[in-house]
């Protein structure tokens, strides 16, 4: 009994302390070093922040270069898919185009009316756009985020909205000198105030960690109001986080009793270029 315990202790000691096989450091030293890095990383000292930004700059760029071959295959896969479904897509687009032409006429009128009404209450929305390339796009089980090639030198700030075409994609959570990280709406830690239209109900859209969002914190009776209608989710503008009315996604109304799924308009797995937008909502009142 005592000898088996001795063997265990010897094996553990040897594993942690012995520097064998051309190892320059013992395991214990490195484990302690990683713990020190974790602890230091949580302090907001300026020196540590600068070191972190420096490391991020180098690693993001290296990661972008290392991802080039995989990105090539990814694009090739998308192109092949697009070629295979070319005719079907053309037919769908033709029908959709006709519908959109009809809608555009009424939309033009609504835009003008909206502009006039905003002028009437002295409300203005100013936005600054910065176009950015997606450097790193990793679908990890930990965090759904993207790294962009614009940083503090381009006036990017924490909290700015990320938009793909006109659809909301996420917000900036970390800014380095020449790059930044944006948290996608699909991340479990993402929560944004939204408006469900046309039933006009406020809610919070949470990420699910998958490729869709989930409606939370809303009135219990909203499911009855839906009644198989097509539901579109827009940003509500609450908390001045984002401009009101940015399209986010549509609701799957067939399974509304099972889940509150929101399918995002933008495909987060195929983001190449995005717009970093800073909104300023001014009011004359």
């Amino acid at each position: 009994m005592a000898s088996s315990r001795d063997d265990f202790v010897i094996a553990i000691r040897s594993a942690f302390l012995k520097k064998s096989y051309q190892q320059k450091f013992s395991l214990l030293t490195l484990i302690f070093s990683s713990l020190i890095v974790i602890i230091l990383g949580n302090f907001n000292f300026k020196a540590i922040q600068y070191v972190k930004i420096g490391i991020n700059e180098v690693i993001y760029r290296s990661s972008h270069i290392a991802s080039l071959p995989e990105n090539y295959f990814k694009n090739l896969n998308i192109k092949i898919d697009e070629h295979l479904s070319l005719y079907d897509q053309y037919k769908k687009n033709e029908i959709e185009l006709n519908k959109l032409k009809e809608k555009k006429l009424s939309n033009d009128f609504l835009i003008l009316e909206n502009k006039k009404l905003r002028e009437l209450i002295n409300e203005t929305i100013q936005s600054e756009d910065v176009y950015a390339k997606v450097l790193v796009d990793k679908d990890s089980p930990y965090l759904k985020s993207i790294v962009l090639n614009k940083g503090s030198k381009d006036n990017v700030k924490i909290g700015m909205a990320i938009v793909d075409k006109s659809y909301l994609v996420g917000k900036i959570i970390e800014v380095n000198y020449s790059n930044s990280r944006a948290l996608l709406l699909s991340d479990l830690n993402s929560k944004i105030p939204v408006l469900i239209e046309p039933i006009d109900i406020h809610a919070v859209l949470s990420g699910s960690g998958k490729n869709h969002g989930v409606i939370e914190y809303t009135k219990d009776e909203y499911k009855q109001k839906i009644n198989g209608n097509k539901m579109i989710v827009y940003t509500s503008g609450y908390g001045d986080l984002f401009k009101p009315g940015l399209p986010v996604g549509k609701m799957n109304t067939n399974n509304i009793n099972k889940d509150n799924k929101v399918i995002f308009f933008s495909d987060f797995r195929q983001l190449d270029y995005v717009k970093i937008v800073d909104y300023e909502i001014g009011s004359g009142n």
């Binding site: 063997d7 010897i10 094996a11 553990i12 040897s14 594993a15 942690f16 012995k18 064998s20 096989y21 051309q22 190892q23 320059k24 450091f25 013992s26 395991l27 490195l30 484990i31 070093s33 990683s34 713990l35 020190i36 890095v37 974790i38 230091l40 990383g41 949580n42 972190k52 490391i55 991020n56 690693i59 993001y60 290296s62 990661s63 290392a66 991802s67 995989e70 295959f73 990814k74 896969n77 998308i78 790193v136 990793k138 679908d139 990890s140 089980p141 930990y142 965090l143 985020s145 970390e174 990280r181 479990l188 830690n189 699910s208 960690g209 998958k210 490729n211 797995r269 195929q270």
Partner: protein
């Protein structure tokens, strides 16, 4: 003379191949997400570190594994030093297994690997949730661990071939 130089170059390249694969995988995070296979993901780095530190630790030193962890944290967005800690835990398990194992075999290695990934992933999930307040999708974590475990023999087979090639080339 030139053939001697060529051999030395090939030997060096082969010697550093596991290290190159480690850094390539942490920088690139090969995830196949463009294939749009829902839930499919596995942790190649765990397999790589477990295999090479268990079988031939001279090709993958602990210092490089520590650095690879830092790189992975920056790419993935987890707190810096966190992946290094997890990777080094795998190294600790493999170092212990090396000390107590006289005749290694596939089944023992595979079960030890399952124990190791469950241990490391449990520590990861608990720390991320409790200490760093990062919400985690448990199902995805579990599926990731499952695929990592299932795919271990496939990579074991490939790495065995690679290791033999490296050994033959270096001993020539």
């Amino acid at each position: 003379m030139s053939s001697l130089n060529k051999n030395t170059l090939i030997n060096s390249l082969l010697f550093y191949l596991p290290l190159f694969l480690l850094f390539l995988s942490v920088l690139n995070e090969i995830d196949f997400n463009y294939l749009k296979i829902e839930y499919f993901s596995f942790n190649f780095v765990y397999i790589l570190i477990f295999y090479w530190t268990l079988k031939s630790p001279r090709y993958l030193n602990y210092g490089s594994i520590f650095l690879a962890g830092i790189v992975n944290d920056v790419v993935v967005g987890t707190p810096m030093g966190f992946s290094s800690f997890c990777y080094l835990l795998i190294c600790a398990v493999t170092a212990y297994l090396r000390n107590i194992t006289i005749t290694p075999n596939l089944i023992n290695d595979w079960i030890s690997f399952l124990f190791t990934i469950l241990l490391v992933n449990s520590i990861q999930v608990i720390s991320l949730e409790i200490i760093f307040s990062i919400e985690i999708n448990y199902i995805r974590y579990l599926i990731n661990s499952g695929f990592t475990f299932i795919l271990y023999p496939v990579f074991l087979f490939l790495f065995n071939i690679l290791e033999k090639k490296i050994a033959i080339q270096i001993n020539d």
